[in-house]
Amino acid sequence: MTIKEIQDSIVEEFSMFDDWMDRYAMLIEMGKECPIIDPQYRNDNYLINGCQSRVWLHAEKRDGKIYFTADSDAVITKGIINLLIKVFSGQTPADILAADMSFLDEIGLKEHLSPTRSNGLLSMVKQMMLYAEVMNG
C-alpha cells in the first residue's frame, strides 16, 4: 500500500469512533502492537527529544525501503509512534520525504493530544523524516 492509502485507512478507522475514549482505547491497542526496538538500541542515542515520556526509535534500510522499530515507557505514546510506523515502515526514503502529513489533523491527533504530547508527535515525525533524509539515495 502507498503512504496515502495507509493514511486513508487510518483516518477511516478513527472516524468510526465519535467518543474520545474509544480513540484512546485504539491508540492503546496500537501501543501494545508496536514493533519493538532491539534492546541494544534502547539507549540515549535513539531517544527522541521533545517527548515528555521517553520514546526510542530505530530505522534500518532493506531493499531500498526503511523499516522502523520503537518503544516508549508510556503506552499511548507507543501507540502514536506505532501509528506513524504503520504509515512509514516499508516505504522508500523518497516517498517518506514526500509524504503529506495532514492526515494527523484529519484524525484529530494533533488537535486533541495535549500540547506536550503534540510536540512529541511532531518530534517523532521529524525524527522519521531525518532517517529518511540520511538514508535517501
Binding site: 474520545w20 475514549m21 484512546y24 492503546i28 521517553r54 499511548i76 505514546t77
Partner: protein, 420 residues
C-alpha cells in the same frame, strides 16, 4: 462538621464552573497554581481602571495613592506572616525569584570558596538549582572551566527515607560540617511532607547557621508565623495562594536584609547615582529594582484578606479531610502505590499505579475532565530516589469537594483499567 460553606466559596471562583471535553471540570492542580477569587480579580482590574500609576517617584495624586496602596499591601503581607515590620517583606515575582535573590545576594554575603550549603533531598528544582549553580560559579577555577568540570559537591543534601521523611540525624551530621546556609521546603511539592522546620531551624541556629524556608506550598494552607518559627528567610508565591501570577515575596530578618548586597540594579533601588559611585536605597527598596508589579501586589493583599476571612483552623481541617478521603478512596485501586507517606502531610497526594505510566493516566483522566499534574513536578532527584519516571499528583484547595474526589477516583480507576 465544619461551618465552611463550600458552595459559597466556589461561587467566588467562576473558572471552576465550566466543562472541559463536555465534562464538569475537576481542578486538582492547586499545588501548581490555585484559581483566583473574584475579589482578587476585581482588585487588580480596579487598579488598572482607576489607580494605575508608577510608584515611589511621582509627586502627583495618582502616584501617591498607588504608592500608599502598594505599601499597605506590604503591611498586610507582613501582618499575615507576623513579620516584625513591613520592611522585612520584599516583593518579588515569586518563590523562584526570591530563591535566586537569596542564592545570589545571601550567597555573596556568606559563602566563599569551599563553603557549603545544605538543602534537602525533596527540594523543588527552584530551591536546589540556584544554590548549586551559585556554588559552581564561585568554586570553579579557570582550569575547571576549560576542562568543563563542575564544582557542585559543596551542596550538601539531607537524606530522606522511603516514606519521604527527612533524616534529622543526617541533618545534624551535615550541620557539623558548618555549612553557611540551610535552605529547605516547608511542605514538599511532590510528596506533601510537612517538614519539622521549627525544629530544623533551631538545630541550625545552634551552629549559628541561617535558614531559608521555601514556603511555596504552605502559605495557602497553614498559618505561618515567622517569629515563632524564627526562620531567617521565608519565601513564597502569590499565585499558589489565590493571588495573581507574577507576585510573591521574600521575608527576611532585618539584620540580614540590611547586610545583604543588592540583587538587581536599576531604578528605585538606588539612593544617589553618579558615574563614579552609586549608593543604594534602604531595605526593602534596595531589593526591588525597577517598576514592581503593583496591580498584582494589590491582588496579593486581597488574596491575603480573602484567606483571613475564614477560620484558618476550619480550612486546615477541611483540607486535611479532603486529603484523608482522597487517600482512602484511592487505596482501593489495584496496584496503587503512594509516593510520600510521611505521617504529617498537607495538601496533596502523589502516586503511581503498577505498570502504568503517569502520563498515560493523566492523559486519559484529562479527557474525563480531571486536571492533575503528572511528571516529575520539577523535582527530578525525588523521582530518581523512588526509581520512577514521575507521579500523578492531585493537590487540593479549600474550594474542592469530596464529590470531586469521587469523580477523580472513578476516573483513575477507569483509566487504569483501560491502560492495563
Amino acid at each position: 462538621m465544619n461551618h465552611l460553606d463550600i458552595d459559597k466559596i466556589r461561587a467566588q471562583f467562576p473558572v471552576l464552573d465550566q466543562q472541559v471535553y463536555g465534562k464538569p471540570l475537576v481542578y486538582f492542580d492547586n499545588a501548581a497554581t490555585t484559581q483566583k477569587p473574584l475579589c482578587v480579580i476585581e482588585r487588580e482590574r480596579d487598579y488598572y481602571l482607576h489607580e494605575n500609576c508608577n510608584i515611589h517617584r511621582g509627586v502627583h495624586y495618582l502616584s501617591q495613592m498607588a504608592t500608599e496602596a502598594y505599601e499597605n499591601a506590604r503591611k498586610t503581607v507582613a501582618q499575615f506572616i507576623n513579620a516584625r515590620q513591613p520592611q522585612e517583606i520584599v516583593f518579588t515575582r515569586g518563590t523562584t525569584e526570591s530563591l535566586n535573590l537569596l542564592a545570589t545576594s545571601l550567597g555573596q554575603l556568606l559563602v566563599g570558596e569551599g563553603d557549603k550549603v545544605v538543602v534537602s533531598a525533596m527540594e523543588h528544582h527552584s530551591n536546589m538549582v540556584p544554590w548549586q549553580q551559585f556554588l559552581d560559579r564561585i568554586n570553579r577555577t579557570e582550569l575547571d572551566r576549560i576542562n568543563k568540570i563542575n564544582r557542585i559537591n559543596n551542596l550538601l543534601v539531607i537524606r530522606m527515607d522511603k516514606n519521604g521523611v527527612l533524616d534529622l540525624n543526617h541533618y545534624e551530621e551535615l550541620l557539623k560540617q558548618r555549612p553557611k546556609i540551610v535552605s529547605i521546603a516547608h511542605i514538599s511539592n511532590t510528596l506533601g511532607t510537612v517538614n519539622p522546620i521549627k525544629e530544623m531551624i533551631a538545630m541550625a541556629h545552634k551552629y549559628g547557621i541561617p535558614v531559608v524556608v521555601d514556603g511555596a506550598q504552605s502559605m495557602a494552607h497553614q498559618v505561618i508565623d515567622v517569629q515563632d518559627l524564627d526562620c531567617d528567610f521565608y519565601v513564597f508565591s502569590g499565585h499558589k495562594m489565590y493571588a495573581p501570577m507574577g507576585i510573591g515575596g521574600l521575608y527576611g530578618k532585618m539584620e540580614w536584609l540590611e547586610k545583604m548586597p543588592p540583587y538587581q540594579f536599576g531604578g528605585e533601588m538606588v539612593d544617589t547615582v553618579s558615574f563614579e559611585k552609586t549608593t543604594f536605597n534602604k531595605v526593602p527598596f534596595k531589593f526591588e529594582a525597577g517598576t514592581p508589579n503593583v496591580g498584582a501586589a494589590l491582588g496579593l493583599e486581597t488574596a491575603v484578606k480573602f484567606i483571613q476571612s475564614f477560620d484558618r483552623q476550619e480550612v486546615e481541617a477541611y483540607e486535611d479531610e479532603l486529603l484523608r478521603y482522597a487517600t482512602e478512596q484511592l487505596s482501593g485501586i489495584e496496584g496503587m502505590r503512594f509516593i510520600g507517606q510521611a505521617p504529617k502531610r498537607n495538601g496533596l497526594v502523589s502516586f503511581v499505579i503498577d505498570g502504568i505510566h503517569p502520563y498515560d493516566l493523566g492523559t486519559i483522566i484529562d479527557k474525563m475532565g480531571v486536571a492533575v499534574r503528572t511528571g516529575h513536578h520539577c523535582a527530578e532527584p525525588v523521582m530518581t530516589f523512588f526509581g520512577i519516571p514521575g507521579t500523578v499528583r492531585a493537590s487540593f484547595a479549600m474550594y474542592n469537594t469530596k464529590e470531586e474526589i469521587d469523580i477523580f477516583v472513578k476516573a483513575v480507576d477507569k483509566a487504569a483499567n483501560m491502560l492495563r
